[in-house]
């Protein structure tokens, strides 16, 4: 059976042969189409690097990266990515930032001029969904860190990508907003069914959202453990305090502390 995403035994090194930093070594990850996968691991273990390799932003030194049946040599249009930092363009308003992918990715690119109103409504809906209604015309520096992150999440979603790569998209948010956005994310995934790969530090978040959680080792990163989360959907916040839920987070916690200790 071939997977939608296949990372096979990849090694990625920043810098030269002997002086560089080996960020990933022998990392393997397989994700089926429509699956929601979370990646957790100690800080600096190479999670963001894994996402860069996966999206084709950074070439791997060894191993193969295959997305949608083709080897990834350069970034793909079917991918939507939210980076660890919001990385909004400072000269664009929030709305224009969210609409940026539409100016690049086909078929939207060709349709944008004539269907501007329709696309703008879509962007406004998304912003409203993450609680940013009324901030469309504000510039990024007029938003708080968490608001910028939410805007960048909208930017990742606007062109309805088949593969969503999210690098700690809720990292800078308070717990209440974060939990609210988990719900939003789950609804979105259940209706549109994109393939999602989510990096997070929050084990509750990982277990709430994902079908499967992968634990990475300390740098150089590779996958050391995978845990299938077979809780029924839609999952609820109350559910995160049940015994079956906490058993899973507890198990993951132990694997991560092992990974940290091994470093």
């Amino acid at each position: 059976m071939s997977h939608f995403v296949e990372l096979d035994n990849i090694t990625l090194r920043y810098g030269g042969e002997d002086t560089g930093t080996v960020a990933l070594e022998g990392a393997t990850l397989r994700v089926a189409r429509g699956e929601f996968v979370a990646v957790v691991g100690p800080s600096g273990c190479g999670k963001s690097t894994l996402m860069k390799a996966l999206s084709g932003l950074w070439p791997v030194n060894a191993g193969t990266v295959i997305v949608a049946g083709r080897e990834v040599a350069r970034p793909l249009e079917i991918v939507g990515m939210a980076f660890q930092n919001a990385t909004l363009l400072p000269w664009r308003t929030t709305l224009d930032n969210v609409m940026l992918p539409l100016e690049i990715v086909q078929p939207h690119r060709g349709r944008l001029r004539r269907h501007r109103a329709e696309y703008e409504a879509r962007a406004r809906d998304l912003l409203k969904l993450v609680g940013l209604a009324g901030f469309e015309q504000k510039f990024p520096w007029q938003l708080s860190g968490g608001m910028q992150q939410r805007a960048s999440l909208c930017r990742a979603l606007i062109h309805e990508p088949e593969l969503l790569i999210l690098d700690e998209p809720f990292g800078a948010l308070d717990m209440f907003t974060r939990e609210e956005l988990w719900g939003v994310m789950q609804d979105l995934w259940m209706t549109k069914r994109p393939t999602v790969i989510l990096v997070t530090h929050d084990l509750r978040e990982a277990v709430y959202l994902a079908d499967r959680v992968h634990v990475m080792s300390a740098r150089p990163g590779r996958m050391v453990h995978a845990r299938t989360v077979d809780l029924a959907r839609p999952r609820t916040l109350e559910g995160t305090y049940t015994a079956s839920f906490t058993a899973i987070t507890q198990e993951l916690r132990e694997h991560i502390s092992h990974a940290r200790a091994a470093a």
Binding site: L89, W91, F139
Partner: protein, 286 residues
């Protein structure tokens, strides 16, 4: 105990009421606005008084009053020649903008072009432009064209370097946002490189416009029959020192006027870079 509290609150009440009674100049904003004028007026006053007190001969240093008188007397030829200088400067500067922008983008976005072209440009920029004017005269004859070309040659470099820097220093994170969407090189330059370079570009215009003036006037003094530079040459050959100074003053005025225009354009276009603070210049004091 209570007494001191009362005394303190009375003391703190005083400064709050004070601003209404402050003279107009005491407000920091107004002072900042008036300061350049005060400095200029002060300078002229000191100059005038100095010249009179030491009875400096007119052909060494004329007093401001004499200069203004001469300015008024020769207003028609001055305006006529100033217009010519303004025209050559504007045309040369316009070409410099286009050329500087295009080559700046090319050099900034390709390390190959950068490595190939940059040393040549540095070398070229080191040539004193006065030395180039005679060559231009041989090619194009005496007149408007050498002045335009000199203005262009002297002013494109700061524009080019700034645009190239702005594009070359785009944060990799911002570039990755576009790359992750499968954007082509051209899209990345258009959507990230150019907007990001705009503050650099507009800042360079302020420098470029003033040196463009210098270029025009150099060419006019060496090889022209029109323009402020030519006027000053003629005046000095007739030992009409007040008129020479009048020419200098007009040049300075045109330079300042152009600078102000460039400054206004800059603020309009790149508000995001100064984060909407009004008066980028006075910002550091908050």
């Amino acid at each position: 105990m209570t007494d001191t509290t009362v005394a303190r609150s009375a003391a703190s009440a005083r400064p709050a009421a004070a601003p209404t009674r402050k003279p107009w100049l005491a407000s920091r904003r107004n002072l900042e606005r008036a300061l350049p004028w005060l400095v200029v007026i002060g300078l002229f006053l000191v100059w005038e008084v100095g010249v009179r007190a030491f009875s400096v001969p007119q052909f060494v240093l004329p007093a401001p009053s004499v200069i203004f008188e001469s300015m008024w007397k020769w207003r028609v030829p001055i305006l006529d020649n100033a217009w010519q200088t303004l025209f050559t400067t504007a045309v040369g500067f316009g070409i410099a903008i286009v050329f500087g922008l295009v080559t700046g983008v090319l050099i900034g976005s390709s390390s190959l072009i950068y490595n190939g072209l940059y040393p040549v440009l540095i070398g070229f920029n080191s040539i004193p432009k006065v030395a180039v004017v005679p060559i231009l005269v041989i090619w194009f004859g005496i007149g408007t064209v050498p002045a335009i070309i000199t203005a262009f040659l002297i002013s494109f470099f700061p524009i080019l370097v700034n645009v190239a820097t702005g594009i070359a220093t785009v944060e990799p994170e911002l570039r990755d946002v576009l790359r992750a969407l499968g954007a082509r090189r051209r899209d990345i330059i258009l959507k990230v490189g150019l907007p990001r370079a705009m503050p650099y570009f507009f800042a360079s215009l302020k420098v470029a416009i003033t040196v463009a003036f210098v270029g025009s006037i150099i060419a006019e003094t060496v090889a022209s029959n029109k323009g402020i530079g030519h006027l000053m040459m003629v005046a000095s050959s007739r030992f009409d020192v007040p008129l020479v100074f009048a020419g200098l003053l007009v040049t300075a005025l045109m330079g300042v006027a152009m600078y102000i225009v460039a400054n206004i354009v800059e603020r309009r276009m790149t508000g995001w870079a100064t984060r909407g603070m009004d008066g980028g210049m006075s910002a550091p004091q908050g």
